[in-house]
């Protein structure tokens, strides 16, 4: 493990104590054991597991993924082992000392509350992240995170269902992210994670069909980073609850950008596929940045962006 060069790396994400600000994004990191050959998870602040539903889901038909410029499209549709198998089989296999945040998804609000309730009090689970957006799940029509009234009801129900720190992962597929952030704060969310994947489409002109079986999918990776940075910054201007920044992080420098824009912690997602050890390198690189720039505490970087007119 790299020495921290005298830099205090600890952050508090809505009541979740993290040894450093680097997490990995839901859906990109399995259930915590798959990356063991590449990375000691204790080098990270923690990880967010694949979104869990009450019952196992088998996911969408293939093709589920497609190449996009500086990124990828996905329409996995939340294939997961279900909450019971996660608790019974996946959790016990995660090494001690690794901070686990469980992600929750369902197709209706009562379902979300039930999963939240089930996960509360389970040893090793430090917090919950409500997945309020899945750009390609057909049930329910639009994403929960696209309608402020629906989002409000969802967060309220989740808040009632658990005493754990409760993060809400926001959809970027909205006009005003600040409005969605405020809804979450008003309904008692401990923090917000943004952004999830951007609703997108890629087509094959030779077959005259979309590349994904589902048609639409979610765009992730470096292509969305400037969108994510903008939304994190806008949210940080609107709410006081902590923000976890996600979207196309490829390096420690990218992670620092999110901290400067107001994120207390960050998640590395798509980049894990290209280099499975990347999240550890990001954690080390943030320390090097802080030492080089004279910040004895990483948390003093949060919101340090000098924005014109502010």
């Amino acid at each position: 493990m790299k020495e921290s060069q005298g830099v205090d790396t600890a952050v508090d994400l809505g009541g979740i104590s993290l040894r450093n600000p680097v997490l990995t994004a839901s859906g990109t990191f399995g259930y915590g054991t798959e990356f063991a050959p590449f990375l000691d998870l204790r080098r990270l602040g923690g990880f967010v597991a694949k979104s869990l539903t009450l019952e196992p889901r088998i996911g969408n038909p293939p093709p589920r993924i497609a190449e996009a410029p500086s990124g990828m499209l996905n329409a996995i549709s939340l294939e997961n082992v279900g909450v019971e198998a996660f608790i019974g089989e996946k959790l016990p296999a995660i090494p001690e000392g690794v901070t686990v945040i469980a992600s929750v998804f369902e197709t209706d609000i009562d379902g979300y509350a039930e999963v939240c309730k089930r996960l509360t009090g389970v040893p090793r689970i430090a917090g919950l992240e409500v997945n309020a957006s899945c750009p390609h799940v057909k049930s329910g029509g639009i994403e929960f995170g696209q309608d402020p009234a629906v989002l409000g009801r969802l967060v309220r129900a989740a808040r009632r269902a658990t005493t754990l720190p409760l993060l809400v992962k926001l959809s970027p597929n909205v006009t005003h992210i600040a409005e969605m952030a405020r809804v979450c704060e008003a309904e008692g969310a401990s923090g917000i994670s943004l952004i999830n994947a951007v609703q997108a489409l890629e087509v094959d002109p030779e077959t005259r069909r979309p590349l994904l079986a589902n048609g639409l999918g979610g765009l992730s990776g470096p292509a969305i980073r400037p969108i994510a940075l903008r939304m994190v910054w806008q949210a940080s201007q609107a709410v006081s609850i902590p923000i976890c920044g996600v979207g196309g992080i490829e390096s420690a420098a990218d992670a620092v950008k999110f901290l400067l824009c107001g994120a207390t912690a960050i998640q590395v997602g798509t980049s894990n596929y290209l280099q499975p050890s990347i999240a550890g390198d990001v954690a080390d690189g943030i320390v090097e940045y802080a030492a080089r720039h004279g910040y004895p505490r990483i948390r003093d970087l949060v919101g340090a962006l000098e924005f014109p007119g502010r």
């Binding site: 859906g27 990109t28 990191f29 399995g30 798959e34 990356f35 088998i58 996911g59 969408n60 038909p61 293939p62 093709p63 589920r64 993924i65 990828m72 996905n74 996995i76 294939e79 079986a213 798509t270 894990n272 596929y273 499975p276």
Partner: protein, 41 residues
């Protein structure tokens, strides 16, 4: 494939018995009888 080691769940291969296997983790070679060829793109 996006990840190639069983995490992204992108390389789903439809099975006759229902559900999907992952080509990267469970294959890449499969018993032909186990694959649902109708649902394979």
């Amino acid at each position: 494939m996006a990840c190639g080691f069983g995490v992204c769940l992108g390389c789903a291969a439809p099975l006759r018995e229902g559900g999907y296997a992952l080509v990267c983790r469970d294959g890449p070679a499969f018993d032909a009888a186990s694959i649902d060829w109708e649902r394979l793109p």
